[in-house]
């Protein structure tokens, strides 16, 4: 799918509006949902907090190896306002977790 979108974006062809609609339809097809998770935070002596471990809905815990990137950004596929996006590494894999600053909740986006 990503590859397909990429081709569309780079085709620069006259039918771009048509492709735009097509892309929208396709993006509706892969439907993402928000899954709230429990997150363990570590707060340092300066009062800065960062996530160290996440707990999945079934109670299983995963340690965060490192935080690759952290910035203010809206979620890619689901809805939320004023979120902070963390790109983290868990078991050698890159994952993205979001923090909702308004509600103080953490979530991930899951393809359903």
């Amino acid at each position: 799918m990503k590859m397909f979108n990429y081709c569309i974006l780079n085709s620069g062809c006259l039918f771009q509006p048509l492709f735009f609609i097509l892309e929208r339809i396709l993006s509706i097809m892969d439907y993402y949902e928000k899954v709230y998770i429990t997150v363990y935070l570590k707060t340092d002596t300066d009062g800065r907090s960062k996530p160290v471990c996440i707990e999945w809905t079934n109670g299983k815990r995963f340690l965060i190896d490192k935080i690759i990137d952290e910035r203010n950004a809206p979620p890619e596929h689901t809805g939320a306002i004023l979120t902070r996006k963390f790109k983290v590494q868990i078991n050698g894999q890159e994952k993205i977790i979001y923090y909702e600053t308004q509600t103080n909740k953490w979530f991930v986006e899951r393809l359903s």
Binding site: N72, A73, P74, T78, G79, I81, L82, Q102
Partner: protein
């Protein structure tokens, strides 16, 4: 020459709702006040609803008629809007300290002193636009110019997600061709007056002699002349300046239309009560000027301000003057949808005693006010109210003071 940006968040309330709930993004969306109390007018709409002909100020069933069953109505959630607005402002603060809010979704930024650092006004505008999109997820229209008026016109020209620069070289093509009502502060009445003497575009206005405009519009003639020519010089306020209280106001869109003077008087009394009580809370005892704002059911606005005979913080005096102003300014061609009162010109420090005033009465009133404030603090704002208001039991339940009111700061607030 200054470099001023005017940044306008596109369809702000509706965009926030779409951000929160992306499934509704492809449908017509309107944001309404509380439906049960029939504050139910459209406060904002997204692009799709706009194309369908929905206007801000429509009653929600009118919007439903225009959009059909697809229409999504979302109840306004002001605390979220304020939070998002604050986050956007944080982004602005990276480029300048001179930020002046005009309502919740618009700001002027004076970036004159940071243009060298970032490579020009246009570059700053581009960076702000990108950042708001990437970090918050909203689109913004920005106007870049050398004065506040043209910057605002610029931000209105291309929407959404666009930047327009108005320079001394291109303003005659870009601004002067616009219709005169596009100019800030040219409302319906002013437009009619101007049209009558053959002024249709902003260019016409700019080329008319100032004296002629002044004869027609009073001091506003000279303001509008400077607006149209780009010679307007009002400063963009500093961040800190906003914290100074210059005026206290409350407005209310009533759950039903107000049909006669008695109704209006009653609501004005309620508003004056809230204003007076907020004044006392802010430690401001007396004010000299009262401004009244009324909005008809067709959403035309009328306003007038007047001076009090002596500075006062008394709700009855404020309400009395507001009602007098209302009688003077409102033509009663339609029913009244909403009214607002604000007070300015606060008296601080020692004051001259009024020779004919009744000191004892004044002091008694102050003691009464204090007691009322005490009661309200303990039991809530609804615990005590004026008897006039009891005529309409639903009004009695309204908690004006407790509710959030958001309205733009006046453009001339600091230029008096």
């Amino acid at each position: 020459m200054r470099t001023i940006l005017h940044s306008d968040l596109n369809n702000f309330y509706a965009s926030v709702e779409c951000l929160r709930n992306p499934e509704i993004r492809d449908k017509p969306v309107i944001v309404v006040g509380s439906k049960e109390d029939r504050h139910g007018i459209v406060l904002a709409k997204n692009m799709i609803a706009k194309i369908a002909g929905v206007k801000t100020g429509d009653v929600y069933w009118e919007a439903r008629q225009k959009c059909g069953k697809e229409l999504i109505e979302v109840q306004a959630d002001f605390s979220s809007y304020i939070a998002v607005s604050k986050a956007v402002r944080k982004i602005y603060e990276n480029y300048t300290v001179r930020i002046e809010a005009y309502g919740i979704d618009e700001c002027w930024l004076d970036v004159t002193s940071s243009v060298k650092l970032f490579g020009g006004g246009l570059a700053i505008a581009e960076e702000i636009r990108e950042r708001i999109k990437n970090e918050i997820g909203l689109t913004v229209s920005i106007g870049v110019s050398w004065n506040k008026i043209f910057a605002k016109l610029g931000s209105d020209m291309k929407k959404p997600d666009a930047i327009t620069e108005i320079t001394p070289e291109n303003y005659k093509q870009k601004v002067w061709t616009l219709s005169v009502e596009d100019l800030l502060y040219v409302g319906n009445a002013t437009k009619k007056k101007l049209n009558r003497i053959g002024i249709k575009t902003i260019g016409d206005l700019a080329q008319t002699e100032e004296e002629r405009l002044c004869a027609l519009l009073g001091k506003w003639g000279s303001y509008l002349h400077s607006f149209a020519n780009g010679t307007e010089q009002s400063p963009v306020l500093l961040v800190g300046e906003e914290e100074n209280i210059k005026s206290i106001g409350n407005s209310l869109t009533v759950y039903r239309d107000l049909v006669n003077d008695d109704d209006v008087e009653m609501v004005l009394l309620l508003l004056a009560d809230s204003v007076a009580s907020r004044m006392r809370e802010a430690g401001l005892n007396k004010a000299r000027t009262v401004a009244l704002y009324a909005r008809s059911s067709k959403l035309y606005g009328y306003q007038k301000q007047g001076k009090l005979s002596h500075p006062t913080g008394n709700m009855h005096d404020i309400a009395k003057l507001a009602f007098k102003l209302f009688k003077e300014v409102y033509p009663w061609e339609e029913y009244v949808r909403g009214v607002g009162i604000s007070v300015t010109d606060f008296v601080t420090g020692s004051e001259q005693l009024d020779m004919f005033g009744d000191l004892i009465k004044d002091e008694r009133q102050q003691r009464l006010d204090k007691a009322i404030d005490g009661l309200r603090k303990k039991y809530g704002n609804g615990i005590i109210t004026t008897a006039t208001v009891l005529k309409d039991p639903k009004l009695k339940e309204l908690d004006i003071k407790g509710e959030h009111t958001i309205h733009p700061y006046s453009f001339f607030r600091n230029n008096k």
